[in-house]
């Protein structure tokens, strides 16, 4: 039979199928496949599937590492792979960030295994949502246009909202999820408004093209020495949207409540992976999309960085709950990571390298700290700072690990964090302007303030008595133990052999160069 008469085939314009590089897209596809498999397994085997879901999710993440490694291996030959007219790019930056997301996701899965199985939670959906959030992050690392960035942002946010409220029968968890959701949606709205202004001004969504149009006046085509009001507004709105995600002050209010209400593994996930994803987006926007408008983003980043450091640190000093402490310290850490962006216009390469190093090291030490909090909470059932008292007397291994993480976060050599902080100083001092030096001094002062609360935690662990003199040891399940070992080793290696990290994190991203 001939259907051509029924269908107006002749009128159909030839469809130009976009070229798709399947190798480049394979990490995403594998993650997606495992996500679907998890759901399928759950549907078919129902409750019998429960015991395998965590393992399956973990395996999924490890399998996803394979194409990332092969892509990295090919990188020297093929160079960056570009798809969809520049909207989707696989380069060194995106590969290293993907690897960080997947590895930190893996550690979160390890943390979750016993916590979720022993608690009263939906299990397979948990891992399914976790994988899809990680998928969003992996997509984010490659997205180089406004629309992909927005979709990736939602893809990683929406599962996070739900995961935050996963302790269904706890009011606090409900509050955590709802607060996170409302603030997240608010941030999306602001960001979207900024993006629409950008699109209006440039007519482009691809970041490199946006950058080109930001550098010249749209009407006359002359190159712009300073920004126009609309461009300024657009850039500010987009950045503010992501400032919510990375919990930079003054957009940090959701973080403490959400962190303390959500299940601890989810908190670790939000504080590490989700936050890093926000930074990845910011970095891509700043270095690829807005690079021509350094006069706009540099002062904004300066303010955000300074405010985050100061506010985060000062409020952290007064916390009595260790998760809230981590939340505020996370705000302060966000300030540190934003600091190089305040000088990015002048010392782009170094600023980028310092941020990437910081993110890698930050992931290891923060996840580790949450792993210890989780392990300690298995015994004490509490996350108040007092519950850490005397940890050394009954769980010396955990105590040493927590000490390592706390002082790594504080940036004391030779633990991992020092090199992260050092690189930030390096970038800021390299720029060398008056404002940069003031920022450098602020960074120095804030390192000291931060040390106060990190050291206080360490002191409680070592110098105080265990509450009620209860010295029964903590039983650490194997998956949690594995997470601890991974993070401790990473933190120490980053500290002793910073050269090993910096080799990977020395990547290029800057628009047109």
């Amino acid at each position: 039979m001939d259907f051509s008469a029924a269908l107006p085939v002749a009128d159909v314009v030839a469809f130009n199928r976009p070229a798709i590089d399947w190798h480049a897209a394979s990490p995403e596809l594998i993650l997606l496949g495992f996500g679907a498999l998890l759901t399928l397994v759950d549907v078919i085997f129902l409750d019998r599937a429960k015991q395998y879901t965590a393992a399956l999710a973990g395996i999924g993440l490890l399998v996803t590492m394979v194409p990332i490694l092969t892509l990295a291996n090919d990188m020297s030959e093929t160079g960056p792979r570009v798809m969809f007219d520049g909207a989707y790019v696989i380069d060194e930056f995106s590969l290293i960030m993907k690897a960080i997301f997947i590895l930190s996701g893996y550690v979160v899965i390890l943390l979750s295994t016993n916590y979720i199985a022993e608690g009263d939670y939906w299990e397979s959906e948990y891992y399914g949502l976790m994988l899809s959030a990680i998928l969003g992050m992996v997509v984010m690392a490659s997205s180089r246009d406004l629309i992909s960035i927005f979709v990736a942002f939602e893809l990683l946010s929406i599962p996070s909202y739900m995961l935050a409220t996963w302790k269904k029968r706890s009011l606090e968890s409900n509050e955590a999820g709802l607060k996170y959701y409302l603030m997240g949606v608010f941030a999306s709205a602001i960001m979207l408004y900024g993006m629409s202004l950008l699109f209006g001004a440039s007519g482009e969504t691809i970041l490199t093209k946006v950058n080109a149009s930001l550098s010249s006046d749209p009407l006359t085509g002359e190159s712009l020495s300073s920004s126009t009001p609309v461009l300024t507004l657009a850039v500010i709105f987009v950045i503010v949207g992501f400032a919510f995600k990375v919990s930079a002050a003054p957009f940090h209010n959701w973080a403490p409540d959400t962190y303390s209400g959500a299940p601890i593994p989810v908190t670790a996930f939000l504080a590490v992976a989700s936050k890093i994803a926000g930074f990845v987006a910011l970095v891509q926007l700043v270095f690829v999309g807005f690079y021509a408008r350094a006069d706009v983003f540099q002062p904004l980043m300066w303010i955000l960085a300074a405010a985050s450091m100061i506010i985060g640190n000062l409020i952290a000093l007064r916390q009595t709950d260790i998760v809230r402490l981590m939340a505020y310290s996370g705000v302060a850490q966000a300030g540190f990571i934003l600091a190089p962006l305040a000088v990015a216009g002048d010392v782009g390469d170094q600023a980028l390298a310092s941020i990437v190093s910081y993110l890698a090291i930050y992931a290891a030490m923060n996840l580790g700290a949450f792993a210890v909090i989780l392990a300690a909470a298995r015994k004490t059932g509490s996350t108040s700072i007092e519950s850490m008292n005397g940890l050394f007397s009954y769980a010396p291994g955990l105590a040493v690990a927590m000490t390592i993480f706390m002082f790594a976060l504080a940036g004391i050599p030779p633990l991992g964090g020092w090199f992260a902080k050092f690189q930030i100083f390096f970038a800021v001092v390299e720029q060398g302007g008056t404002w940069a030096i003031i920022l450098g001094v602020l960074l120095a002062v804030n390192s000291v303030i931060a040390l106060y609360y990190y050291a206080s935690v360490a002191r409680r662990i070592w110098a105080d008595q265990a509450p009620d003199g209860d010295l029964t040891p903590i039983r650490i399940p194997p998956s949690l133990g594995a997470a601890l070992v991974l993070t401790v080793v990473a933190t120490l290696v980053f500290g002793f052999l910073p050269g090993a990290v910096s080799q990977f994190t020395d990547v290029g991203l800057i628009a047109g160069g």
């Binding site: 390298a353 010396p396 002082f407 504080a410 004391i412 050599p413 030779p414 020092w418 090199f419 050092f422 690189q423 100083f425 390096f426 001092v429 390299e430 060398g432 030096i437 450098g440 001094v441 960074l443 120095a444 002062v445 390192s447 000291v448 040390l451 106060y452 050291a455 206080s456 360490a458 002191r459 070592w462 110098a463 910073p498 050269g499 910096s502 080799q503 020395d506």
Partner: protein, 537 residues
Amino acid sequence: MNYDNDWFLSVLTFTPLVGALVMMLIPKADEAFHKAIALAVSGGLFLFGTFYLLTEFDFDNSGEMQFNFDTNWISVINSRYIVGIDGMALPLVLLTLLVVPLCVIYSWNHFPEPANPKAMLILILILETGMIGTFVAEDLILFFVFFEVVLLPMFFMIAVWGGPDRRYASLKFFLYTLFGSALMILAFLSLFFLAEDSAGNSLRTFDIQALTEWGGANLTRTAGLLIFGGMFMGFGIKVPMFPFHTWLPDAHTQAPTVGSVILAAVLLKLGTYGFIRIAIPILPQAAVVWAPWIGLLAVIGIIYGALGCLAQTDMKRLIAFSSVSHMGFVMLGIATLTTFGINAAVFGMVAHGLITGILFFVAGSVKDRYHTLEIKRLGGLLIQAPRMGWILGFATMASLGLPGLAGFWGEFPAILAAYNPANGVSETIFRTYMVIAAVGTVLAAGYLLWLLQRTAFGEPSEEFANDPEIVDANKFEYVAWAPMLVLIVVLGIFPNLIFKTSDAAVEKSLHPCLIAEGDDLAALDCPAVFDVEVAGG
């Protein structure tokens, strides 16, 4: 010169760390084994290290860096793993090697509460790695890392084994030092970016020797002063200089005996060593401008520390304040920027390390017996524990600078050096300082004799008169103290053991414009900042 023994300093630095790692793997219950390992590692390292250094170190070339090792470390920032030792670092390394095993021996049978010898010994060994590493590091970043490595163990030592106020003291110690080092690292980074050779090429190096050769040549005056200021904060807090000294009395009073000894004997020297190894050689011009201020803070420290001593009621706190005063002499010597002054400072560091070390040891032993260090409750040590009383007397004599003992050679030349400071440094000002410092020695004699009189002489107070716990020094204490006592005498009689070693290195570290005279100076064509200022002129 090419040395084929480049492995030596790395072995020296990292052996204690390896020992600590081994101990971590051994269960806590096996205390004797832990002590044995710690003693074997630190003692063995002392014997081997001293022997090797004394035989292999080329004393005729003590100005040169020896046992050099230079390899790639963090390539992105061009920071290298460079270690080396010269005549300036050698006495301090030997001091460290000596003090650590003595501390292990001293604490053998009485670890302070909450005991746990394993943890404490591990911390001591990590400390040793940090201290030796700082003295041999020849790269700014490496130096910074080692400089910070000592913080954590000392923090825990005070926080866990300290006195009743340990929480406060440990945090204060940590925060002060970290604040200084945060500014210091900013200064290091600025050097990295601002250093340019005469052709205008950026050096971009952290190599201390390379930077010393560069000597701040192209820096603007403001930049130089600011960078020096950053380093000054880092090193000055560690020394500690007035007005940053307030962490020291607290830390010393609360720290366990061994912690106090290590803190006084070695950790404080990291700051002064930073001045003479890094700040002054790299930025001689800024140093000239800063020198009067450093000298001022040094003499304020001398007087303030001495007056502080007179106001103390606690023996350990008194010794801590005397440290502030003595480190003031060291800093005064350094502030003169002359070979003579800095040699005196190096000697002063070693002498102070030995003398204050022994004072803290004795104070710790007194505390063990009397369970208090309140001076007015003590007394009659010479009757109840005569040998210990005499040792205390000996140490106070050394501390107040009695000629013939080590303390004298730290103080006297420093005062003398102030008579004639380096080119460009005002003689008028420094001669004033000299007079004030001389007053300080009188005060020192005052408070130390006062201490001795109230604790050692007289009748024992009633509450302790028949206390069976008060016994004379035991064998562990003798073993721990004897080497220090002997050295105090030996160095007092043969000061040249150190002066001769350090002299060449000190001279090499100072910018020629600082120390040249007459025609030599004219030939050097020095910048205006080095113009000679004559007293009254």
